[in-house]
Symmetry: none
Subunit: 203 residues, 4 copies
DNA sequence: CATGAATGAGAGTTCATTCAT
DNA sequence: GATGAATGAACTCTCATTCAT
């Protein structure tokens, strides 16, 4: 079995090599610019080789998209250590914003990129997005149970929360805060976030 | 001077012709699909001609982006008929959301598309975005003056408001509400908006 | 008008250049081997240039196919100088066979090549083939009117005649007469043709 | 010797497996579409394996071509049960036509496909084709001996017969009967065949 | 002012074949 | 004997842009 094992490991390594290279291109170039050829060049293999590991370009994008959600989901779990629901939610949002700042190429894939490649709508009702959103809803439900967001349904509140953090980071990532000096943009984002949390969270 | 005047007018007419054709392509095809050749075909001129009026493709996109802001700014002005500051603000947000729903290609250019194409950062500190945002800030200032958003600075409040509406429409436009049936998505958007307004607006 | 005229002429010249090059490739290489790149190389232009004159590869094939039928139709008309119906028909067949021998690449396109590129079935019910066949049917009808092919319908007789000559030349062109020394193959073809004509033609 | 025997048997089995898979691809896809990789996939071996049994793709095609002739030869033998020479010949032709209709992929390989692939000319003077043709010649000789095809040499008569049936089926297979409704094409073929037989066969 | 021919680069993808293991 | 990773060359086609006319 060990030969097969090694081969399997090699195969996984190669897939990872391709995915890493693709991701790096995502950062430096702009999304629409990444091409199979450039990926091949980066890993110093022939273009054909990539097709031994991925059916086509879309499959690469979809894989990266899943990796992104996995990483995000893991980071999201950190809030579980906080017991007080509202503090937990506040931290939840901060993690979201920081994830986007620190992993812009992942965030792009998860929530901004045009869906064609990822086939969001077809693939199992966008399971990845759903799971993430449901985890947020749980947290909001806990808040409701503790008297926050009085008289609001959990769904609207969750959508609002998500919309807000998505809005703020995507304005930032797509450089629509150009009227604010770069060095202040992050502060502005967190200030706006505080504004949102304080107001919506009032008991 | 009148010959020059006529020439200027002709020039403007031609530019407009090109921009209109480009916009139409924007709507029918998907963004990354519009090409200089297709634009040329549509206006029944040769590809080379376009370069007499625009330096390159990016300049066309930038111009469209400006047209988008002009249209949006005009729609925004409608709120001026409302006197009560908070009601005015509520309407302000609704206009924003509806504009995005009804003019997705414009919204794309204004707030989503990667900045490379439209050279936001270089061009005059993104004047277009600034003017729009300042108009919103004015409205929020009026609210503050009337006791809403107590103890918050106008800038954070404005950023929060903008972030929120941008977030909600860009999740919608980029199909990240796949977990909600299409026919309910708009309702969800406005419900979340109400949630936001009621909570943040409390006196 | 003369400028436009010249341009039109240039355009036609270029199209012809491309078609000629394609046809030559048809002869040397085997059909499935001709490629846009090879055509481009042959005419010493870039591949993209070809697309300025032809929509795609299929259009080139279709054009060649039409040229082939035009040439064939013209050659076919020569029989009109012969009055006696049966002698006319005999000559008709000879012209057919000689055309195939002398223009194998055209014959390939007309009657052998897989139809995908030429879209025989879709395009106007294969007008080109029809016209040619109808001209043959006329000749056979004249023979019937003069007592040849007694008691046979014109359609079956025409199909038989066509099948025969097509069969003989396509065995030859596709090298299925390998059991006969090359230098004798043509004689064998015409001998078989005589056999066919004498037997079927009997009054 | 028995070890070698078994090995030989295994080897033949594997070759057959490959050939069968190739043929199936021939039927479902179109000829130019079959690829070594697809064959390998079908038999669930790696592409490299095929090269242990066949020198290259052409050799596979040649082998299939031989299998085709074997099958055809066996079907041809059925005429032996008919004693009267002309009736035998008439059946002979029918078998030929039906074989082509029912085994188009085989017929393609035997009589239509470009010779490059199957190297007809190099390989033993195209033994396969020869044997088949000689069997036909025998039948025609019997006819001659019984007063049919008076005053004709057996070779010309045989070539004529073969040309005719080949012509009719290859027009059919390559869709050059587009002017006739699909559902009538087979009837037309057999009608033309009758025309040929009645005329040429007259005592 | 306008043309439109031309290009070079690049896109995604498939292929027959080789060869170290 | 069998693998399967890898390649290099090939494929059709599209693009933004230039430039002689």
């Amino acid at each position: 079995m060990s030969i097969k094992d090694r081969k399997d490991r090699d195969r996984e390594k190669m897939k990872k090599l391709i995915l890493d290279a693709s991701l790096k291109l995502f950062i430096s170039e702009d999304y629409s610019r990444i091409s199979m050829r450039k990926i091949a060049e980066k890993i110093e293999y022939s273009p054909g080789t990539i097709y031994l590991y991925f059916k086509n370009k879309d499959e690469i994008l979809y894989e990266l998209h899943n990796m992104a959600f996995d990483k995000f989901y893991r980071e999201q779990q950190k809030v579980n250590s906080i017991k007080e629901p509202f503090e937990k939610l506040r931290e939840h949002g901060k993690i979201y914003i920081n994830f986007a700042i620190n992993n812009p190429e992942y965030y792009e894939l998860m929530f901004i990129m045009n869906a064609t490649g990822i086939e969001i709508e077809k693939k199992s009702n966008w399971y990845a997005g759903k799971r993430t959103f449901e985890f947020l809803m749980q947290n909001i439900q806990e808040c409701l149970d503790n008297g926050y967001f009085k008289s609001h349904d959990v769904f609207s509140a969750s959508m609002a929360m998500w919309s807000f953090v998505h809005g703020i980071v995507s304005l930032y990532l797509r450089k629509r805060m150009a009227m604010i000096p770069s060095e202040n943009q992050k502060d502005v984002m967190f200030a706006a976030y505080e504004f949102f949390m304080i107001n919506t969270g009032k008991k």
